[in-house]
């Protein structure tokens, strides 16, 4: 959750944030959750949650009493003021890949590359055994294992899968944005500095 400065939450709708999302995520959410209620909680960054009807009712009740939910419903990701504008949650990506049965905007990484990644390390070219477009330099890319489970998110250092192929084995092709090891390492989830 957002630490530090005061957090403000308000209800919203998918339409309000669609322009901030990568196209494939916007399309998926529109298809599946067009009428959902969203909750946007902001200080320096904005966290986006999707609420069921019953959860929206409780959140409304809580907010009117001057309380701020720490999290609510389905955490979709966070909006940023600069590029990358949206960092999706692991659960959103996993659900989207499972339901569409299609990998998109993703690197599939071999086990030996996953190990350092799960301790906060970056992704080297030699670890990537699959690449799925669109992959844009400076934008977020999903990091999956060969078991097709989402292990985290990277910030792509390459513009497309063709460029990835041209890189040398030990070149970094994605820097670690978030990995599932964070759940256990318990690091704070404040805004991170992006080198790219």
């Amino acid at each position: 959750m957002l630490d530090g400065a005061e957090v403000r939450c308000r209800e919203s709708s998918l339409r309000e944030i669609l322009g901030e999302l990568p196209q494939h995520i916007a399309e998926y959410l529109t298809r599946k959750y067009a009428r959902a209620t969203l909750l946007l909680c902001s200080n320096k960054i904005t966290e986006v949650f999707m609420l069921s009807e019953v959860i929206a009712g409780v959140v409304g009740r809580v907010v009117t009493q001057g309380l701020t939910p720490y999290s609510a419903g389905f955490y979709l990701g966070r909006l940023r003021k600069s590029k990358p504008r949206f960092i999706p949650s692991i659960n959103l990506l996993q659900e989207m890949f499972r339901e569409t049965r299609e990998l998109i905007n993703a690197f599939v990484v071999a086990d030996e590359g996953l190990k350092p990644f799960l301790y906060g390390g970056d992704i080297l070219r030699k670890s990537v055994v699959g690449c799925y477009e669109p992959v844009r330099k400076g934008e977020v890319v999903a990091v999956l294992g060969t078991d097709k489970i989402v292990y985290g998110l990277g910030l792509s250092r390459v513009e497309g899968c063709e460029e990835l192929k041209s890189r040398k084995d030990l070149e970094e092709v994605a820097s670690n944005v978030f990995d599932v090891g964070w759940y256990i390492r318990g690091e704070a989830r404040g805004e991170r500095k992006y080198k790219g």
Binding site: M50, S52, R61, Y70, S71, A72, G73, I184, G186
Partner: protein, 324 residues
Amino acid sequence: MSREVRELAERYGYRPYMVSRYLEMLRDYREVENMLRAFEESLNQVVRCNTLKLTDCRELVGRLERLGFSLRSIEWCGEAYEVVREPEKPSLGSTHEHLTGLYYLHRGKASLIPPMILRPTKEDLVLDLAAAPGGKTTHMAQIMRNEGLIVALEPSKERIKILRNNVERLGIKNTVLLRLDGRVSSKVFGGFFSKVLLDAPCTGEGIIMIDPSRKTKTTLEDLMRHHEKQKELLRSALGSVGSGGRVLYTTCSVAPEENELVLSEVLRDWEDVKVVSLESPVKLAPPVTEYYGIRVDDRVRFCGRTYPHTHGMEGFFICLMELR
């Protein structure tokens, strides 16, 4: 304090007042020693397969077995397994399967029981009054198939982060997490909820096998502080359900001061609360009905306990109440 109590306390490394209470509670010297001996035994950790992410738990078993773990099914909880052998590496907390939320790691079997007794459904409005780190919250979400509502409260800034991490790691979508002291829930929500789980913060006198420091850590004053807080939490829990609503009170302590006596004192002011017979997946031991000459409220006889020496698990107390 008798010589035999002092000897037992010294032999097993306890504060003598604790052993003295155990003797009053169990009324049998040999049984007290059996319990203290059982607290010296280590417990198998328990893996609860996350059925929100896996449709077939055999997939998880296969993956963990390939890593060198041996699992044994827990017959009364279909999705849970005792870990009977572990490889040197990786640890159960660092496997990819754990990090990606394919399972929740419990320190013992007993903590599986309370959500199974409360049995929330997707129609329920559930309150988890002291939720972190989230074992029972996530178990209830799993029982509810990620539908309905669980409001999970946790006052600690650090512990609510752990709670959120576990909720997200397991892919749970039906919770609202609030950084709030459970003692104010009835003021905030009134009788909004249909089911409340109160896993009250306690001395941990039932998990000494996991944390042996608890043999000496708790003074009598600490124990009474817990007792007072537990009463406040229980009052708040009862004030958070409407008519027909249910409250499950549980602790990981064998101390009557944290269990039967809490119930007994609080229920005195709640004539319209009945204690419900427990439909438990394991046969529970009866509660303590008399303690240092105090007869506990008659309704408490329907509550239940687990003991390490008779159940082979942590010492838990469980009680299910219903508001008329």
